[in-house]
């Protein structure tokens, strides 16, 4: 588990380089990614619900990114985009595709629905935090 969290740090760190994030911010991107994954693993162990763990993790990632954006005076997306990447349901997509390929439509429907639910949970979490964003910058206008 510790190995996974350390790997999440490096995975997010290197992913941020792919998106040309400037050198000074790379460490913070890695931090957001590994914290998000830590929270995901923790909640998953506790509740055993994939959707709920994704939701809470995405919520935490958005909050951390927001705080970092304020501290570092950067657009929030610098931290949010790499940070959220480990949660993107690539595995769900792959399993859905694999089941379709094997004509196992029952499994395909299950994984397909789960993938959409995860994507939805992440979206709602980001929306939730970004809405506060909107509130505060509308006020300052």
């Amino acid at each position: 588990m510790i190995l996974q969290i350390i790997s999440a740090f490096f995975a997010t760190f290197f992913f941020a380089i792919l998106f040309n994030v400037s050198k000074k911010e790379l460490g913070y991107c890695g931090l957001v990614g590994s914290l998000g994954w830590l929270i995901y693993l923790f909640i998953f162990k506790w509740t055993d619900s994939v959707i709920f763990s994704n939701f809470i993790s995405a919520l935490s990632i958005s909050i951390i990114s927001r705080i970092l954006a304020k501290l570092r005076k950067m657009p929030i997306t610098i931290f949010l985009i790499p940070g959220i990447i480990p949660l993107v349901p690539g595995a769900g997509m792959y399993k859905t595709m694999y089941a379709v390929l094997n004509q196992n439509f029952k499994e395909a429907a299950f994984y397909g629905a789960q993938t959409f639910e995860i994507a939805g949970a992440i979206a709602i979490a980001i929306i939730f935090i970004s809405s506060f964003d909107t509130l505060s910058h509308k006020k300052t206008k």
Partner: protein, 251 residues
């Protein structure tokens, strides 16, 4: 004050941000703020992922509109941050228009990370994600080599200006094929973990995040188009991997 110069500066700042993967609403907001420095009677800005239109009008000037079409987009989050910073400095009056224009030209010329770095980073991203999703050290090494090959192929596709969707489909096929080939040669490895980890560098993270954030800000048109982009990229990758599996599995 030269209003054309100001409009040009605002649009160019917006263009660089939009080309580099900023959210559409952020681009709209930035242009709006730059133009609001002078109290024009009316300022209208309309931005979509593929173009920018801005109009300014006042009693003393002729109504001026500028349209800028955005054709190619690359992900340069460093430029987004720098232009964002520059526009803030300009709006707060810390920098003159002339200096800001010079600064903007400099930002646009900043080069991305070296191709060699990007290629090795593609490999490392694949490798570490394989561990995150439960792979062992052998899976790690296989993903590392697949990722490096993927990185080289992606550079090649960019130079050939291949369509994003075709490039991702071929990338998915390559990942699937190499994963199956290497796992069949090397014992105690798991091709699921390797494939899931190795497709991560192709995941449309910017499109997904921006689709959500644009929708929230009421930029519905951009939200939908970016959502569709993300969806089709995902389908392209999955199709590529599926073709590899379909070709390989009967053997």
């Amino acid at each position: 004050m030269d209003h054309k110069l100001l409009l040009n500066f605002a649009i160019q700042a917006g263009e660089i941000m939009l080309r580099s993967g900023a959210e559409t609403y952020r681009v709209e907001d930035t242009i709006m703020r730059i133009l609001s420095v002078y109290d024009f009677e009316s300022i209208e800005v309309f931005v979509t992922p593929t173009g920018i239109i801005a109009t300014i009008d006042d009693k003393n000037i002729e109504m001026t509109t500028k349209l800028k079409r955005i054709n190619s987009r690359t992900i340069r989050l460093d430029k987004v941050a720098l232009v964002n910073d520059l526009s803030r400095k300009y709006v707060l009056g810390k920098i003159s228009l002339q200096d800001a224009i010079e600064e903007l030209k400099k930002i646009d010329k900043i080069s991305p990370y070296q191709p060699l770095i990007l290629i090795s980073v593609t490999g490392l991203t694949s490798a570490f994600f394989t561990i995150v999703f439960g792979g062992n050290y052998k899976d790690f090494l296989i993903s590392l080599s697949i990722g490096i090959i993927l990185g080289i192929i992606q550079r090649l596709f960019i130079n050939l200006q291949l369509s994003r969707f075709l490039a991702d489909m071929l990338g998915g096929f390559l990942v699937g094929f190499l994963a199956l080939l290497l796992t069949s040669i090397i014992p105690s490895t798991n091709f699921d973990n390797i494939i899931i980890g190795s497709i991560m560098p192709m995941v449309p993270g910017v499109a997904i995040t921006n689709a959500i954030r644009d929708t929230i800000e009421g930029n519905l048109l951009s939200g939908i188009s970016r959502g569709v982009e993300a969806f089709f990229v995902a389908i392209s990758i999955a199709t590529g991997v599926a073709i590899a599996l379909k070709v390989w599995l009967p053997f």
